[in-house]
């Protein structure tokens, strides 16, 4: 079987996902084009004719992000017209899903070189703006016990007994780690600043990080999902299923949930031959991937079963993994994942996560996989696993091994 090597990965800095955010003025397609241009600059020997496809994750693929943004970006970036493009959506896992699909296609031997990644301008196309029967159609909503994901996160905290201090402590740590990683230049190689059409810098660093964030400074924030849970009837929907608990303890708020941001990321995935042909150095190989469905109302407990599935496929165990990336969709998701897998916070999200830097939905999976590869290299470790919880009750995992 062919190998699926990661040859390169790039991401934009993440801009605050509102109209005052630095990247709000930048169209999502331009965020992608900036990365495609940079990838070509960095790998001048690469013959772009060899790129079979561009696979991009987008969670709200309408408006600025509609009409197959991957193909649009390919055309706009001036890549050969033979480079196709497809947009995929597995909610928050879309970016990693794009990578996994690309890896599978390369490993199967059907294709040689695919650029995978994702983009989300949450300031321009807000979460949920694509509608969808799951939430919006009463018959479907009723039959599937729909609740918004924040309710599921609070439910996890309630079931696991995570206190407000527990979740806030993790959030504070995420900011501290992200700040340190930036200060030490750990992200320098992968983050590509965003420039305007005249080459003037727009944004070079993640906008959301707040150094000095502490449990105390977070304590004043109001729970985000309490009113929605009560007035929208969602708590009761969840409690119909989790009937033994009295009530949901609403611990999550803007500070211990993933930040709403704009951003994009790409990963260049190819087989051995491509590397040989163009003198590219493979940085890591993708050795296993998995997706799995989990209970949809609590929604966010998929990462552990997905990780176990990916591990089992290649005969590995948790102890064989050196570093872990679990998307910080909500603090309780990361806490629960570490608990489920029996792993330490010392080896998990070591450079911070989405609570500090934000979660540009369609791109995040590709971002955290890139962060993992960089950090494995920096620490001289071997294997890493990246995972995300996914809307409607799914989990995704990817295991990489340095070459």
């Amino acid at each position: 079987m062919a190998e699926a090597f990661i040859y390169d990965h790039l991401r934009t800095p993440r801009g605050r996902g509102k109209k005052t955010g630095a990247l709000h003025e930048v169209k999502p397609v331009d965020l992608v084009v900036g990365l495609l241009d940079e990838a070509q600059k960095r790998n001048p020997t690469l013959d772009t004719d060899r790129v079979d496809d561009i696979v991009l994750g987008v969670v709200s693929p309408i408006g600025d992000q509609g009409m197959d943004i991957a193909r649009t970006a390919s055309l706009l970036s001036g890549l050969p017209e033979t480079v196709a493009g497809v947009q995929v959506n597995r909610f928050c896992a879309s970016g990693l899903e794009a990578v996994n699909q690309a890896a599978a296609r390369v490993r199967s031997g059907f294709e040689d070189l695919i650029i995978a990644g994702g983009v989300e301008s949450m300031s321009r196309v807000p979460l949920g703006s694509d509608g969808g029967a799951w939430a919006m159609d009463p018959a479907t909503n009723l039959a599937t016990d729909f609740v918004p994901q924040g309710i599921g996160a609070d439910l996890i905290a309630t079931l696991e007994g995570f206190s407000r201090t527990d979740v806030d402590a993790l959030a504070a740590e995420s900011h501290a780690r992200a700040d340190k990683a930036w200060s030490n230049g750990y992200f320098e190689n992968s983050v590509v600043p965003v420039y305007d059409k005249n080459g003037v810098l727009v944004l070079s660093k993640d906008e959301l990080i707040r150094p000095g964030t502490s449990v105390e400074s977070l304590a004043g924030l109001k729970p985000s999902f309490e009113q929605q849970g009560r007035d929208g009837g969602f708590d009761e929907v969840a409690l119909a299923k989790y009937h033994w608990i009295e009530k949901i303890n609403h611990v999550h708020h803007a500070g211990n949930s993933s930040g709403i941001v704009d951003g994009a990321a790409i990963v260049v995935i190819g087989n051995e031959q491509v590397g040989k042909d163009y003198g590219l150095r493979p940085r890591a190989r993708i050795i296993s991937t998995a997706v799995i469905g989990s209970e949809p109302t609590i929604m966010l407990t998929g990462p552990a079963p997905a990780a176990r599935k990916a591990l089992a496929k290649v005969g590995l165990e948790a102890k064989d993994i050196d570093l872990w990336e679990i998307n910080e969709a909500f603090a309780a998701v990361a806490l629960r994942f570490m608990k489920d897998m029996g792993i330490s916070q010392d080896v998990t999200n070591v450079n911070g996560g989405a609570m500090a830097m934000g979660h540009p939905l369609g791109a995040t999976g590709a971002i955290i996989l890139g962060t993992l590869v960089d950090e494995l290299e920096r620490q001289g470790k071997r294997r890493g696993l990246a995972t995300l919880c996914v809307g409607a009750g799914m989990g995704i995992a990817t295991i990489v091994e340095l070459v």
């Binding site: 509608g131 159609d137 009463p138 909503n141 007035d231 929208g232 009937h243 033994w244």
Partner: protein, 726 residues
């Protein structure tokens, strides 16, 4: 043409009057006669289009139109879906054609227009109603149905999704004509004798007005008020519509409100023709299902039979009390005095002291005050009601009373004593009623003075709070005469309550049956089931509250006392579950809500959380049963007990058991009541009927104990293909 259900007359001004007048029935329904006649009438309208100026639709019956033909709906099953759909679509196509007739069409509503009746009127361009005390509305949801004759589609287009759902469709609200006008369902209100004249005048006024013959939704540029699912303002709210509904129905499996919500939202996304077709499909899914049948059986046929007095002994002249004595001015007595006074009866409210009696009377004053402040009743009427109540401590004030309702403490000797104190003053042949919930009527009767006292004595079991609870359980003692039963029945109807008849036996019907579900809840606690799971299983099954809350409200000490008495009467030595479980709580100082401590904690009398210490008395088990089992254990234990009450002759009518169980003790309404739950059992796997019930009961018996095993009586009934007596 005289035997058509829709008469067609055209007058000299070119105004056509379509008169709804089913030759075969006293009320118009959406039967074949209507469908054919209406289709012909509308065809003729189009044929006459040149000389027709406009159309008036009215009725020759005392009501306008009664709605769907419920009898015909009862046998409909899944396999009939295609033909039912075709029929419904046919009826609706006629109404749509009438609606699209380009001349003004006005509905002249002369009487009750519920369901299909209002749906016909909604297809008109204008609605004029006669003043009166009849009802207008779309109450389908209360029968497990949805307004499938265009009612969902048209109200959504008239009022918008949210208003149509919350104010018209969701609860099946019935409006008096003035309220219907205020709501906008009716455009004008006129005196009954001017109805058709005014309707014709409206046609004349609008004959040449452009667009008067068009519905708003058929005019260009029309937008649904409040927006469609794609409008941002509504879209933000849309994901919560289902969950909020689920919260309102406490997560119970009630299909009609969900179908109504779905049809309303889905219909708002498409054009009128498609919307009305979607509405038909949801209607067909409900009408061919079991739940609607169970609800129609209970809330139309059974309730109808009870209100028409099917079990009231015949040949007894209708009785109307003139003066009543209520003995005991506690919570029950005070409530009973209120409902009697409200029904126009002079009431003497007697207690041991005038202060106690006055306190009881002030209950009515309080209710009146609330009613006046909410505009439900005029000050004058309120004063009248209060003026009918005389608070007293002296027996002489009972002079000439022809009705006694006793509501003192549950003690045989005390009850007999208070009766005998006033007996000398009563009118000859007075009706003697006791509001006891447990004491055997036959025993009570034995100690009463007066000629034929035992024959005139009967149980009248009210529920708390009396002013709100719709049921009164009538208990016929061994000596109670038929005349007394008939009179008691009349009293209950006179105070606008629903009677159910039970025969004397320990716990009668309602107390006996509700006792089983509370005990089952307590048994679950003893087994180590999570207390919140027990409570949620109850509301998910369709009960208004869970058994632990009920136990707290009933009072654990009282429950233990009843359980002990019952056990001793049966000669058993082994403590009952109620005694064991409730006993432990009582020992821990937690006898219920009254004490501010029971299964739940209470803060200032308000229930808060399950008491944390409960887990120490009854540790939560490692393995928990499926919640479906917890739900079924509650409904089945009551249904099995109900079957036993038939077997023992305590209850003799399915209608009375159904209505009694739903109205009195909160049996899940969507099942149609505790008897219908058995004969119309609606199994999770889609099977239905008594065999499906027996199968599930046997499963529960195997898993949880013999108390769920159906008795041979029930098995034989099933084997013979019989039902409980109607």
């Amino acid at each position: 043409m005289t035997d058509t259900a829709v008469k067609y007359d055209i007058d000299g001004d070119g105004i056509v009057t379509l008169t709804l007048d089913d030759p075969g029935q006293s009320a118009n329904t959406m039967n074949e006669a209507y469908a054919t006649a209406m289709a012909e009438a509308v065809e003729r309208l189009y044929a006459d289009a040149d000389r027709v100026k406009g159309v008036v639709i009215t009725s020759a019956k005392s009501t306008f139109f009664a709605g769907g033909d419920l009898k015909r709906m009862m046998p409909l099953r899944k396999e009939h879906a295609a033909e039912v759909f075709a029929e419904v679509e046919g009826i609706k196509a006629t109404l749509r054609k009438l609606e699209l007739f380009p001349k003004p069409v006005v509905a002249a509503i002369n009487g009750a227009a519920l369901g299909g009746g209002l749906e016909i009127a909604l297809a008109a361009n204008h609605r004029i109603a006669a003043e009166g005390r009849y009802e207008i509305g779309l109450p389908e949801v209360t029968l497990g149905l949805l307004p499938g004759g265009g009612g969902v589609t048209r109200t959504v287009r008239m009022f918008g999704i949210v208003t149509a759902l919350t104010e018209i469709l969701g609860q099946g609200t019935r409006f008096k004509p003035e309220a219907a006008q205020a709501k906008g369902l009716v455009d004008e209100l006129v005196a009954a004798d001017q109805l058709v004249a005014r309707a014709k005048a409206w046609v004349t006024e609008n004959a040449d007005v452009e667009g008067a013959g068009l519905q708003p939704w058929d005019k260009p540029g029309y937008k649904i008020p409040g927006g469609t699912p794609s409008s941002p303002s509504l879209a933000a709210f849309l994901p919560a519509l289902g969950p909020i509904l689920r919260k309102q129905i406490k997560q119970a499996d009630m299909r009609a409100p969900k179908a109504i919500l779905s049809a309303a939202v889905e219909g708002a996304q498409v054009d009128f023709e498609t919307a009305t077709r979607i509405e038909s499909r949801y209607f067909v899914s409900l009408v061919t299902g079991q739940q609607a049948k169970n609800m129609i059986q209970a809330f139309f046929f059974d309730l109808g039979s009870i209100n028409s007095g099917a079990l009231r002994p015949a040949g007894v002249e209708k009785y109307r009390p003139t003066k009543a004595v209520v003995l005991g001015a506690g919570m029950m007595g005070a409530g009973i005095a209120y409902v009697l006074a409200r029904a126009g009866v002079e009431v003497v409210l007697k207690d041991v002291s005038i202060e106690a009696a006055e306190r009881g009377k002030s209950y009515t004053a309080g209710l009146n005050e609330k009613g006046v402040s909410r505009g439900k009743i005029s000050q004058e009427k309120a004063d009248e009601i209060l003026g009918r109540i005389t608070a007293t401590a002296s027996a002489e004030d009972a002079a000439g009373a022809d009705l006694v309702v006793e509501a003192v403490f549950e003690d045989v000797a005390l009850k007999q004593k208070v009766f005998n104190e006033i007996t000398p003053f009563l009118a000859e042949g007075a009706l003697l009623c006791s509001n006891t919930s447990t004491l055997p009527i036959t025993d009570l009767a034995k100690g009463l003075d007066g000629t034929d006292a035992a024959a005139r004595f009967i149980g009248l079991h009210f529920f708390s709070p009396v002013d709100k609870m719709p049921l009164v359980e009538i208990i016929k003692g061994a000596e109670t005469s038929d005349e007394t039963l008939a009179k008691a029945y009349d009293v209950v109807l006179a105070i606008k309550k629903t009677p159910m008849i039970a025969h004397d036996s320990r716990g009668f019907y309602t107390s006996r049956v509700i006792g089983t579900v509370i005990e089952e809840g307590l048994r679950m606690v003893a087994e180590g089931v999570h207390p919140y799971s027990i409570e949620r299983a109850a509301t998910q099954a369709g009960y208004p509250v869970g058994p632990l809350q009920l136990a707290d409200e009933l009072n654990l000490e009282l429950m233990v006392k009843i359980a002990k008495t019952t056990r001793e009467a049966l000669g058993s030595e082994e403590l009952t579950t109620t005694e064991r479980v409730a006993g432990k709580l009582i020992a821990a100082g937690r006898s219920g809500k009254l004490k501010g401590a029971g299964f739940y904690d209470y803060v200032d009398g308000k229930r808060t959380s399950i008491w944390e210490g409960l887990a120490e008395l009854f540790p939560v088990a490692e393995e928990q049963p499926a919640i479906a089992d917890l739900r079924d254990r509650q409904t089945f234990i009551e249904a099995i007990e109900t079957a036993k009450t038939f077997e023992e002759g305590v209850v003799t009518s399915a209608a009375h058991a159904n209505i009694g169980s739903v109205f009195g003790i909160g049996f899940p309404p969507a099942t149609g009541g505790a008897a219908q739950f058995i004969t119309g059992y609606d199994a999770a796997d889609g099977s239905f009927g008594i065999e499906a019930f027996l199968k599930r009961a046997d499963e529960l018996a195997a898993a949880y104990g013999e108390r769920f095993a159906p008795t041979p009586y029930l098995r034989e009934m099933a084997a013979k293909g019989e039902s409980f007596p109607a």
